[in-house]
Symmetry: C2
Subunit: 345 residues, 2 copies
């Protein structure tokens, strides 16, 4: 957004990697729709888009009194806050814009407040880029040369105004000369991993393998993964972290294999008002996202890890239901005895 009479240009992430297509938002309704339908997504990027969305409210209200202008801004903040419920960066950015407008309410003209709001939105954007760089620098130390690094969803440049959060760490380690292979969970239902993370990594020259979400635990068991890094959408005061559906499953698998699970996130993702993760609202999305999927051919540089099966260790199986009877507990002795004693075929 060039000036207070400008508009917001966004890359439409729902069309990547098939098409690199930009959309122009001229009013707050368009920004709301872009956030709601994941054209712009990723917790930090949503925050920045919302801040500019508030500037569009200001543009539409330029002719009114400062008090009426601030009221319009407040209504705009309330409206954009309804676009998505989980990522807290949205509410954090809106709160910054609201507070700025309210403290500037005694300005002589609405234009002055509009200029301040645009400056604040740009500041949020610039801070985010700097934050990504710092996260990358801090996190890169955690990765070793030769590591396989698994990530879930997309916490890259597309999700922020910089290099990303989780991917900033990977990019920084890559730039430092560490040879990494990234295992990108495809991330059903909307395939942000296969579509967006893989696209970013291929552009960056980082070797990347995509895999179905269900294959992550098997990849860990096969020794392919030495670290897991994801982003987050909201982190409670105790560290419980909400992130794209499937992240919890990955964390359980990492724990079972003694693989460190890292979350990369800016301060704006923390919600210290919540003592634990059970208070984080979880968005329910439409069924059509699950039942209507299709996705285009990925870049040819991409590897695919596609084992058809995995092995569940006996200790995780409560019982095996066999036509000869219930095998419980599941031990070699019990299995041998049921086949030794039951009537043979």
């Amino acid at each position: 957004m060039g000036g207070i009479d400008g508009h917001l240009r966004l890359l439409d992430q729902t069309r990547l990697p098939r098409a690199v297509f930009e959309i122009d938002c001229h009013n707050i309704e368009q920004v709301w729709e872009a956030i709601r339908s994941l054209r712009v997504r990723g917790a930090p990027a949503i925050g920045v888009a919302a801040a500019y969305g508030i500037c569009l409210v200001g543009k539409a209200a330029l002719g009114v009194s400062p008090a009426a202008f601030v009221s319009a801004i407040e209504a705009g903040c309330d409206y954009l806050a309804t676009s998505r419920p989980t990522a807290v960066n949205l509410f954090w950015a809106l709160q910054r814009m609201r507070v700025l407008a309210e403290t500037a309410a005694d300005a002589a003209h609405a234009e002055e407040i509009a200029v301040s709001l645009l400056r604040e939105a740009k500041k949020i954007q610039d801070e985010d880029a700097e934050t990504c760089a710092n996260i990358g620098r801090i996190g890169a130390e955690l990765l070793r040369d030769g590591d396989g690094v698994l990530t879930h969803c997309n916490a890259g440049a597309l999700a922020t105004c910089g290099d990303g959060t989780a991917l900033a760490v990977i990019f920084a380690a890559h730039r430092a000369g560490k040879r990494l292979r990234v295992f990108a969970d495809e991330t059903r239902p909307l395939l942000q991993g296969a579509r967006l993370t893989a696209w970013e990594l291929v552009q960056y020259g980082v070797p990347c393998t995509i895999l179905c979400d269900g294959a992550a635990a098997h990849a860990m068991k096969e020794g392919l993964v030495q670290a897991v890094i994801t982003g987050a959408d909201r982190i409670a005061a105790n560290g419980d972290a909400a992130n794209k559906i499937g992240t919890y499953s990955v964390a359980l698998a990492a724990a079972a294999h003694g693989i460190p699970f890292y979350v990369a996130a800016p301060q704006s993702t923390f919600d210290l008002s919540l003592s634990g993760g059970e208070s984080i609202p979880i968005e329910q999305r439409p069924p059509g996202e699950v039942t209507g999927v299709s996705w285009p051919a990925p870049p040819p540089e991409l590897e695919v890890f596609n084992p058809a099966f995995d092995v569940t260790p006996a200790r995780l199986i409560r019982a095996i239901i066999c036509e000869r009877g219930l095998i419980e507990p599941v031990t070699a002795e019990r299995i041998a005895s049921i086949f030794a004693t039951a009537p043979g075929k």
Copy 2:
């Protein structure tokens, strides 16, 4: 297959539920292709299809001497064994057919052996149906009225010649009047859960919700799941069980939530020659299965569970990489202190 000059008719499972389409196999190459490309799938069903495939070899060799006939059968067994590597029922059924042919090698005419082979294939089929019924009866006791039961992939009627293995248990409990809701993991990459399990359950009148594989752990945390039941493709002597990719991840999540994880499988799925699961060969499938997916609209009776996020508890997170520094260990105290002491924005 009506007689030794008949052919094998299979339901093409790759086209379900969009189309109910049968294919006719007139020779062993067609059976090999049907198994390889998952037109017929599910460990027990593969075994039965392979047995009939051997009968087609016999049909083609009817004019030769008994010795030459048996050689042809042996070659056919070797060939069909290359169709898929993991499910042991394939090798088990082929071994039954091979042993039968070899012990009948002193017959006067090849036709006699062919008749015996067809009888053996029908016997394998009939036994499988009975086995499914027994598994259902034994397993139904494990489910309680009102349970949410999660399953992965398809271990239903389509995978067997009867009611299935895991689904036989669910169907038997349903017939006994227990009110169940089945959570069917969609099962990427080929969506056997969303396409096949959901289709079977809807036909049977069992309430069914499909969910992305990554959402299973979250569904468990939400208290929706009281038991997990899957089939298996091969079970080692110690009980380690190979099954569709993603099963291991589900078992880890079930263990983390104290939810019983059951495997339903016939004796023919056990491979007592392997002491543990690490010896089970895991099939690698083509990348296109992952990158080329699309699937048709499901039946309207189907519910979809589509949360966009889940929460990973702090205890599973090694560190949070924040622009303010590394938060490790992840505790409320450490989070509070890093934001209290670092320079504010």
